[in-house]
Structure formats: structure tokens, C-alpha cells
Symmetry: C2
Subunit: 221 residues, 2 copies
């Protein structure tokens, strides 16, 4: 049942409402064409200046899954799920060769020559002004991509959970980035078919954390 590809993906409001953070997965594999669709929808996420400052590692080899689980307090969902996406954020992406990004945007017509020339200096300058926040900004882009994955997976009949419980240095070792100081681990997302449902723990009323114009002026809804 669970491995049948849905012909009609869920709409966004339904996917958001239905999604739960699943902690137990069947070991059923994800069909290669479905995995490819997920990866395409993940990297379709926007990023600052479209620099795509992420490294995404699909951990699916059994030995690698075991090592990744060990780096995440032995959480079993990494072992059970057929694949876990590791989202790493590359704080040095803007210092690399930006020509492939610029040439592609010129080719699609999204950026004109003037924009492209401006970005050649504006991108490194903006990153420079970030200073010690370069890591934070790269992590923001990686989390946007991870959220695209989570909602896309839900819409296509798969389940996921955002995982924050792991040791960064150990995860970096597992993915072969132990010696790269510019790479930060943003989040781990196992993807697969849910073995058990989970209930919605609910949400605080808007008055707790949604305001109009200024904090202290609660949104009435």
C-alpha cells in the first residue's frame, strides 16, 4: 500500500495540516524516480542571491546510516528510514566561483547584464558584512530547503521529521566533512513511509506569539 505513488499530490494547506514529525519508519524503499522528484523539489528552494549555499547528503548505505544514527544519540529512525537527508550549510559558498550561477541566470533571462554585474560585487560584499553571522545565514538557506523537502514529501505520501539531536562534529565526520570549518550542520531529515501515526500536540493561541505591528498588540485572528 504505502509504496504506491500518489497520482495527485496534496495541496499545501492539506500537507501542512496533515504533517506530523514521524519517529518510526517502515524499511520500505523509496522508488528512485520519487527520490529524484524530492531532490528536485528540495533544491528548487530559494536562497540568498540564489547562491544555493547548501550541501545535501542522502545517507542510505547501511553502514553510513548506522554511523549517522550513532552521531545522533542512536535515534533509530535513521536506521529504519530508507534515506536521511543531511542538510549542511556552506558559509563559504559566496567566496567560491559564482560564474555558474550568474551564467545560468543570464541564460534563463532572470538576471540582465546589469544585475549580473552588480551581483558579482554585491554578493561577496553582503557576505563580508555578515561577519560572524555567515554561518547563521547559510543555515537559514539550508532550513528553507529542508522545509521544502518536508512538505514535498508529505504531499507525495511520505513522512519525515526535522531532527536537531546530534553532535555536529560527529555528523561532519560521517559525511566526510570533518576537516571543513566552513560547513555547518543545519538539520537531519529522515524520509520514508511512516510505521506509526502521531497526534498533533496542538498550538498556542495567537495571543502568545502573533502580534499586529508591534509585540504586545496581539493578533485577534
Amino acid at each position: 500500500m504505502s509504496s504506491i505513488i500518489q497520482t495527485q499530490p496534496l495541496d499545501v494547506p492539506s500537507a501542512i495540516a496533515q504533517r506530523r514529525s514521524i519517529k518510526t519508519f517502515k524499511t520500505d524503499p523509496i522508488a528512485p524516480e520519487l527520490l529524484k522528484q524530492l531532490v528536485e523539489l528540495t533544491v528548487a528552494a530559494p536562497s540568498s542571491f540564489n547562491i544555493q549555499d547548501w550541501q545535501i547528503i542522502l545517507v542510505q548505505d547501511e553502514a553510513q546510516k548506522a554511523a549517522l544514527s550513532a552521531a545522533a544519540w542512536n535515534q533509530q529512525q535513521i536506521i529504519q528510514a530508507p534515506v536521511t537527508f543531511v542538510f549542511a550549510a556552506d558559509a563559504s559558498a559566496s567566496e567560491k566561483n559564482l560564474n555558474p550561477i550568474i551564467e545560468q541566470a543570464l541564460a534563463t533571462g532572470a538576471w540582465n547584464e546589469s544585475t549580473a554585474n552588480y551581483f558579482k560585487t554585491a554578493i561577496p560584499q553582503f557576505q563580508e558584512t555578515l561577519g560572524d553571522k555567515q554561518r547563521e545565514y547559510a543555515i537559514k538557506d539550508a532550513i528553507i530547503a529542508a522545509t521544502h523537502l518536508v512538505l514535498a514529501a508529505e504531499s507525495l505520501g511520505l513522512s519525515t521529521c526535522f531532527m536537531n539531536g546530534w553532535l555536529e562534529d560527529k555528523v561532519k565526520e560521517v559525511i566526510g566533512a570533518g576537516d571543513n570549518p566552513d560547513l555547518a550542520i543545519a538539520v537531519l531529515v529522515p524520509v520514508g513511509y511512516a510505521a506509526e501515526p502521531r497526534l498533533n500536540p496542538g498550538r498556542l493561541p495567537f495571543s502568545s506569539n502573533v502580534s499586529v505591528d508591534r509585540i504586545g498588540n496581539p493578533y485577534a485572528g
Copy 2:
């Protein structure tokens, strides 16, 4: 045309594929019931231990929009769009009273007594171990929520853009949080009806930033 509420929201893959970062908006208002739906879909996002460690401010008053635009290098999309969501991340959320969250999860049945009791100590302990990463973890949750907003808005006929260009201290002053050291600005998201389309700048090939098991072993797709 643009203010007609769509009867069928877009599915997730279509919303992801169609979404562009829009920089010019019509001043058309968003119907109150549609705005409420967007807020509900935004706070439906998951967060670490469901602590919902965000403060979301809907900036829509004209004077507040002008002040927020001034804090964002005078970017005009904040003036044009009927509302801009400011996503602030509350790094101190776990030190606050967690009872409302725990009681709600007990009431829905999502957490049993044993889980609830464990979380009463586990949540503050996890946050404590984060040390100077508390800000980063709160920002991750806020960005997950912002991405829910962006894809929900797209599915309902609205447009958005993630904005990173602003001065944090000035944005905090505008929303009345200038004196709160625990609150970090994660991202600004104007929401409204697009005045102009934008083209897709494209994405790098998978070989640039998607790997299998280890970095350096590119995903072939």
C-alpha cells in the same frame, strides 16, 4: 482578478515550482479570512519540542511599514505589500512557562504523562546544552515557520519573498523589541499580490551540492 480567492489551493510540487521571490507588489489588501488562514498555516509549522519559539509580527500600519522599510535599506516591497511578516526567534522560549504547551499536548493525546514529565526536564536541559547556539536553534524554527508561510501563500494565489537585507537592531526597535536581548530577527516576508512576474534564475546541477552517503560522491539523479 488577483484578489479572487482560489477555491483549490495549489499542490505542494506546483507551489514550489511556481514560486518566485517577488520584489514588487500591488497595494491590494488581503481579505481578513485569507490572512487568518495564512497565520494558521504558519504557526502549524513544527518546532523543537513544539516550543513554538517564535514571535510573528504582522506589520501593516502605514507608519510601521515605512519604519520597517527604513530598517531594510528602504526596500519598497514592504511599503507596497499589504502586510510584512516579521519572524523573530525567541532564544529564551524554553525558560518560560512550558505548562500551556505540555497541557495542550496531554489534552490532544499527542504526549502521554510519561513523555510530558520527561519533557519538563528534557526541554530546559537540551536548551542549556545548546549554550551559545540557542539563537541559532530558535532561528531554525522561525525559518521553518516562514517557509510554511511562503508555500501556503503561493498555494493560495499570493506572492512573497524572503528578505535578509535589514539591520537587526532597527527592525527590533520597529517591532518594540529593542530592549529584548533574547529576541533575534530571523527573516522578513512581505505578502501580497505580485505586480510583476519574475523568471527562475535556475539551479546548479546536482553534482554541485547533492551527494550520496558522503560529500564527493555526487548524486546522479
